[in-house]
Symmetry: C2
Subunit: 148 residues, 2 copies
Protein backbone atom coordinates (compact mmCIF):
# COMPACT_ATOMS: atom_id res chain seq x y z
CA UNK A 1 0.00 0.00 0.00
CA UNK A 2 1.06 3.59 -0.42
CA UNK A 3 1.86 5.82 2.56
CA UNK A 4 -0.94 7.28 4.67
CA UNK A 5 -0.53 10.87 5.81
CA UNK A 6 -1.79 11.85 9.26
CA UNK A 7 -2.04 15.49 10.30
CA UNK A 8 -3.06 17.47 13.34
CA UNK A 9 -3.53 21.21 13.42
CA UNK A 10 -4.13 23.12 16.59
CA UNK A 11 -3.72 26.24 18.63
CA UNK A 12 -2.79 27.20 22.16
CA UNK A 13 -5.63 28.42 24.33
CA UNK A 14 -3.25 29.13 27.22
CA UNK A 15 0.41 28.54 28.08
CA UNK A 16 -0.42 24.92 28.90
CA UNK A 17 -3.62 24.19 27.00
CA UNK A 18 -3.69 23.19 23.35
CA UNK A 19 -6.71 22.31 21.23
CA UNK A 20 -5.77 19.89 18.49
CA UNK A 21 -7.93 18.98 15.52
CA UNK A 22 -7.42 15.57 13.96
CA UNK A 23 -9.89 15.27 11.07
CA UNK A 24 -13.34 15.89 12.63
CA UNK A 25 -12.08 15.30 16.18
CA UNK A 26 -11.11 17.87 18.80
CA UNK A 27 -8.54 16.81 21.39
CA UNK A 28 -7.73 18.98 24.41
CA UNK A 29 -4.24 18.69 25.86
CA UNK A 30 -3.51 20.43 29.16
CA UNK A 31 -1.36 20.05 32.26
CA UNK A 32 -2.43 19.30 35.84
CA UNK A 33 -2.31 22.19 38.30
CA UNK A 34 0.94 20.85 39.84
CA UNK A 35 2.62 21.44 36.47
CA UNK A 36 1.13 24.92 36.07
CA UNK A 37 -1.89 23.95 34.01
CA UNK A 38 -5.66 24.24 34.14
CA UNK A 39 -6.25 20.46 34.15
CA UNK A 40 -9.02 20.37 31.55
CA UNK A 41 -7.86 17.10 30.02
CA UNK A 42 -4.95 14.65 29.87
CA UNK A 43 -1.43 16.01 29.49
CA UNK A 44 0.97 15.47 26.57
CA UNK A 45 2.73 12.40 27.95
CA UNK A 46 -0.60 10.79 28.91
CA UNK A 47 -1.66 11.26 25.27
CA UNK A 48 1.44 9.28 24.27
CA UNK A 49 0.58 6.44 26.67
CA UNK A 50 -3.05 6.36 25.47
CA UNK A 51 -1.96 6.33 21.81
CA UNK A 52 0.49 3.51 22.51
CA UNK A 53 -2.12 1.40 24.33
CA UNK A 54 -4.70 2.08 21.62
CA UNK A 55 -2.21 1.01 18.96
CA UNK A 56 -1.34 -2.22 20.80
CA UNK A 57 -5.09 -2.94 20.99
CA UNK A 58 -5.56 -2.63 17.22
CA UNK A 59 -2.46 -4.66 16.32
CA UNK A 60 -3.26 -7.20 19.04
CA UNK A 61 -6.63 -7.99 17.49
CA UNK A 62 -5.21 -8.20 13.95
CA UNK A 63 -2.44 -10.60 15.01
CA UNK A 64 -4.76 -12.79 17.13
CA UNK A 65 -6.98 -13.24 14.08
CA UNK A 66 -3.96 -14.22 11.98
CA UNK A 67 -2.88 -16.75 14.63
CA UNK A 68 -6.39 -18.19 14.83
CA UNK A 69 -7.53 -17.25 18.29
CA UNK A 70 -10.02 -14.78 19.69
CA UNK A 71 -9.51 -11.92 22.11
CA UNK A 72 -12.82 -11.13 23.77
CA UNK A 73 -11.43 -8.22 25.70
CA UNK A 74 -8.00 -6.65 26.15
CA UNK A 75 -7.11 -4.64 29.23
CA UNK A 76 -3.87 -2.67 29.10
CA UNK A 77 -1.92 -0.92 31.84
CA UNK A 78 0.81 1.43 30.65
CA UNK A 79 3.08 3.69 32.66
CA UNK A 80 6.42 5.40 32.72
CA UNK A 81 8.52 7.84 34.71
CA UNK A 82 9.56 11.32 33.59
CA UNK A 83 12.05 13.47 35.45
CA UNK A 84 10.82 17.04 34.92
CA UNK A 85 14.19 18.79 35.50
CA UNK A 86 15.24 19.12 31.84
CA UNK A 87 11.75 20.10 30.71
CA UNK A 88 11.65 22.82 33.40
CA UNK A 89 15.19 24.02 32.61
CA UNK A 90 16.58 23.05 36.01
CA UNK A 91 19.16 20.43 35.00
CA UNK A 92 20.37 18.44 31.99
CA UNK A 93 21.40 15.39 34.03
CA UNK A 94 18.48 13.27 32.86
CA UNK A 95 16.68 12.91 29.55
CA UNK A 96 13.58 15.06 28.98
CA UNK A 97 11.07 12.30 28.24
CA UNK A 98 10.00 8.95 29.63
CA UNK A 99 13.02 6.96 30.84
CA UNK A 100 11.19 3.81 29.84
CA UNK A 101 7.60 2.70 29.28
CA UNK A 102 6.10 -0.52 30.56
CA UNK A 103 2.91 -2.16 29.33
CA UNK A 104 1.03 -5.05 30.81
CA UNK A 105 -1.50 -6.72 28.52
CA UNK A 106 -4.33 -8.70 30.06
CA UNK A 107 -6.34 -10.44 27.32
CA UNK A 108 -9.50 -12.46 27.84
CA UNK A 109 -8.84 -15.23 25.37
CA UNK A 110 -9.00 -18.93 24.57
CA UNK A 111 -5.29 -18.92 23.59
CA UNK A 112 -2.72 -20.67 25.79
CA UNK A 113 0.37 -18.94 27.14
CA UNK A 114 2.60 -20.33 24.35
CA UNK A 115 0.35 -18.80 21.69
CA UNK A 116 0.16 -15.56 23.68
CA UNK A 117 3.93 -15.30 23.92
CA UNK A 118 4.24 -15.69 20.14
CA UNK A 119 1.43 -13.17 19.72
CA UNK A 120 3.22 -10.64 21.92
CA UNK A 121 6.44 -10.89 19.89
CA UNK A 122 4.60 -10.20 16.63
CA UNK A 123 2.49 -7.38 18.14
CA UNK A 124 5.66 -5.67 19.41
CA UNK A 125 7.26 -5.76 15.96
CA UNK A 126 4.27 -4.44 14.08
CA UNK A 127 2.86 -1.71 16.35
CA UNK A 128 3.50 1.67 14.67
CA UNK A 129 3.54 3.69 17.90
CA UNK A 130 5.85 1.22 19.64
CA UNK A 131 8.20 1.50 16.66
CA UNK A 132 8.24 5.31 16.89
CA UNK A 133 9.02 5.27 20.60
CA UNK A 134 11.43 2.34 20.66
CA UNK A 135 13.42 3.43 17.62
CA UNK A 136 14.64 6.82 16.46
CA UNK A 137 12.17 8.90 14.47
CA UNK A 138 13.26 12.08 12.70
CA UNK A 139 11.29 15.04 14.09
CA UNK A 140 11.80 18.28 12.18
CA UNK A 141 10.64 21.62 13.55
CA UNK A 142 10.36 24.90 11.73
CA UNK A 143 9.11 28.28 12.91
CA UNK A 144 7.21 30.80 10.88
CA UNK A 145 7.21 34.41 12.00
CA UNK A 146 3.94 36.14 11.27
CA UNK A 147 4.20 39.90 10.75
CA UNK A 148 0.99 41.64 11.70
CA UNK B 1 12.94 17.11 41.36
CA UNK B 2 12.09 13.47 41.74
CA UNK B 3 10.56 11.45 38.91
CA UNK B 4 6.88 11.82 38.08
CA UNK B 5 4.99 8.65 37.23
CA UNK B 6 2.30 8.80 34.55
CA UNK B 7 -0.12 5.91 34.01
CA UNK B 8 -2.98 5.04 31.73
CA UNK B 9 -5.28 2.09 32.19
CA UNK B 10 -7.83 1.07 29.65
CA UNK B 11 -9.81 -1.61 27.92
CA UNK B 12 -10.78 -2.54 24.40
CA UNK B 13 -14.40 -1.93 23.50
CA UNK B 14 -13.90 -3.47 20.05
CA UNK B 15 -11.03 -4.74 17.90
CA UNK B 16 -10.12 -1.13 17.07
CA UNK B 17 -11.61 0.93 19.88
CA UNK B 18 -9.88 1.46 23.20
CA UNK B 19 -11.07 3.54 26.14
CA UNK B 20 -8.14 4.87 28.13
CA UNK B 21 -8.34 6.44 31.57
CA UNK B 22 -5.66 8.96 32.50
CA UNK B 23 -6.46 10.17 36.02
CA UNK B 24 -10.03 11.54 35.83
CA UNK B 25 -9.99 11.76 32.02
CA UNK B 26 -11.42 9.35 29.50
CA UNK B 27 -9.77 9.19 26.10
CA UNK B 28 -11.30 7.23 23.22
CA UNK B 29 -8.92 5.84 20.62
CA UNK B 30 -10.39 4.31 17.45
CA UNK B 31 -9.57 3.86 13.78
CA UNK B 32 -11.28 5.41 10.75
CA UNK B 33 -13.50 3.11 8.70
CA UNK B 34 -10.81 2.77 5.98
CA UNK B 35 -8.62 1.06 8.60
CA UNK B 36 -11.42 -1.19 9.83
CA UNK B 37 -12.59 0.97 12.73
CA UNK B 38 -15.76 2.65 13.95
CA UNK B 39 -14.30 6.19 13.77
CA UNK B 40 -15.52 7.41 17.15
CA UNK B 41 -12.41 9.48 17.85
CA UNK B 42 -8.82 10.07 16.73
CA UNK B 43 -6.61 7.08 15.98
CA UNK B 44 -3.42 6.02 17.82
CA UNK B 45 -0.97 7.90 15.61
CA UNK B 46 -3.10 11.05 15.72
CA UNK B 47 -2.90 10.84 19.52
CA UNK B 48 0.88 10.86 19.18
CA UNK B 49 0.81 13.96 16.96
CA UNK B 50 -1.59 15.76 19.34
CA UNK B 51 0.56 14.86 22.37
CA UNK B 52 3.69 16.10 20.58
CA UNK B 53 2.07 19.41 19.58
CA UNK B 54 0.63 19.87 23.09
CA UNK B 55 4.06 19.26 24.58
CA UNK B 56 5.74 21.76 22.24
CA UNK B 57 3.09 24.30 23.30
CA UNK B 58 3.88 23.90 27.01
CA UNK B 59 7.66 23.98 26.57
CA UNK B 60 7.37 26.83 24.05
CA UNK B 61 5.66 29.07 26.60
CA UNK B 62 8.13 28.18 29.38
CA UNK B 63 11.16 28.93 27.19
CA UNK B 64 9.69 32.18 25.79
CA UNK B 65 9.24 33.40 29.37
CA UNK B 66 12.87 32.50 30.18
CA UNK B 67 14.08 34.38 27.08
CA UNK B 68 11.97 37.42 27.98
CA UNK B 69 9.37 37.53 25.26
CA UNK B 70 5.67 36.82 25.07
CA UNK B 71 3.77 34.35 22.93
CA UNK B 72 0.18 35.52 22.60
CA UNK B 73 -0.86 32.49 20.60
CA UNK B 74 0.88 29.48 19.15
CA UNK B 75 -0.52 27.60 16.16
CA UNK B 76 1.08 24.26 15.35
CA UNK B 77 0.77 22.04 12.28
CA UNK B 78 2.14 18.53 12.67
CA UNK B 79 2.09 15.64 10.23
CA UNK B 80 3.83 12.49 9.17
CA UNK B 81 3.56 9.52 6.83
CA UNK B 82 3.00 5.92 7.85
CA UNK B 83 3.23 3.00 5.47
CA UNK B 84 0.62 0.50 6.73
CA UNK B 85 2.18 -2.65 5.21
CA UNK B 86 4.13 -3.82 8.27
CA UNK B 87 1.27 -3.00 10.64
CA UNK B 88 -1.13 -5.01 8.43
CA UNK B 89 1.35 -7.90 8.04
CA UNK B 90 1.73 -7.44 4.29
CA UNK B 91 5.45 -6.63 4.07
CA UNK B 92 8.46 -5.83 6.25
CA UNK B 93 10.11 -3.53 3.71
CA UNK B 94 9.29 -0.35 5.60
CA UNK B 95 9.21 0.53 9.30
CA UNK B 96 5.87 0.21 11.12
CA UNK B 97 5.55 3.77 12.41
CA UNK B 98 5.94 7.32 11.16
CA UNK B 99 8.90 7.61 8.78
CA UNK B 100 9.40 11.14 10.04
CA UNK B 101 7.32 13.84 11.70
CA UNK B 102 7.32 17.50 10.70
CA UNK B 103 6.07 20.40 12.81
CA UNK B 104 5.53 23.98 11.79
CA UNK B 105 5.19 26.46 14.66
CA UNK B 106 3.43 29.74 14.02
CA UNK B 107 3.70 31.98 17.10
CA UNK B 108 2.04 35.38 17.52
CA UNK B 109 4.84 37.16 19.32
CA UNK B 110 6.88 40.32 19.76
CA UNK B 111 10.14 38.35 19.36
CA UNK B 112 12.26 38.76 16.24
CA UNK B 113 13.36 35.85 14.06
CA UNK B 114 16.79 35.63 15.74
CA UNK B 115 15.18 35.20 19.17
CA UNK B 116 12.69 32.72 17.70
CA UNK B 117 15.45 30.60 16.18
CA UNK B 118 17.22 30.42 19.57
CA UNK B 119 13.86 29.64 21.20
CA UNK B 120 13.22 26.78 18.76
CA UNK B 121 16.60 25.17 19.51
CA UNK B 122 15.94 25.17 23.25
CA UNK B 123 12.32 23.98 22.87
CA UNK B 124 13.51 21.04 20.74
CA UNK B 125 16.00 19.96 23.38
CA UNK B 126 13.64 20.16 26.32
CA UNK B 127 10.36 18.76 24.97
CA UNK B 128 9.72 15.37 26.66
CA UNK B 129 7.61 13.94 23.82
CA UNK B 130 10.06 15.06 21.14
CA UNK B 131 12.83 13.33 23.13
CA UNK B 132 10.83 10.08 23.29
CA UNK B 133 10.17 10.07 19.55
CA UNK B 134 13.54 11.38 18.36
CA UNK B 135 15.62 9.13 20.59
CA UNK B 136 15.27 5.49 21.59
CA UNK B 137 12.97 4.77 24.51
CA UNK B 138 12.84 1.31 26.10
CA UNK B 139 9.30 -0.08 25.78
CA UNK B 140 8.72 -3.32 27.69
CA UNK B 141 5.63 -5.45 27.15
CA UNK B 142 4.38 -8.29 29.28
CA UNK B 143 1.29 -10.43 28.95
CA UNK B 144 -0.82 -11.83 31.76
CA UNK B 145 -3.01 -14.81 31.06
CA UNK B 146 -6.23 -14.70 33.05
CA UNK B 147 -7.77 -18.10 33.80
CA UNK B 148 -11.52 -17.83 34.16
Amino acid sequence: MSDLKFSVYGESTSSTQFIAKARQFRLIVDEPEELGGTDQDANPVEYILAGLAGCINVVGHIVAKELGFTINKLNIEVSGNVNPDKFLGQSNDERAGFKSIGLNLIPETDANIVALTKWLTIVEERCPVKDNLNNKTPVKLSVEKVYN
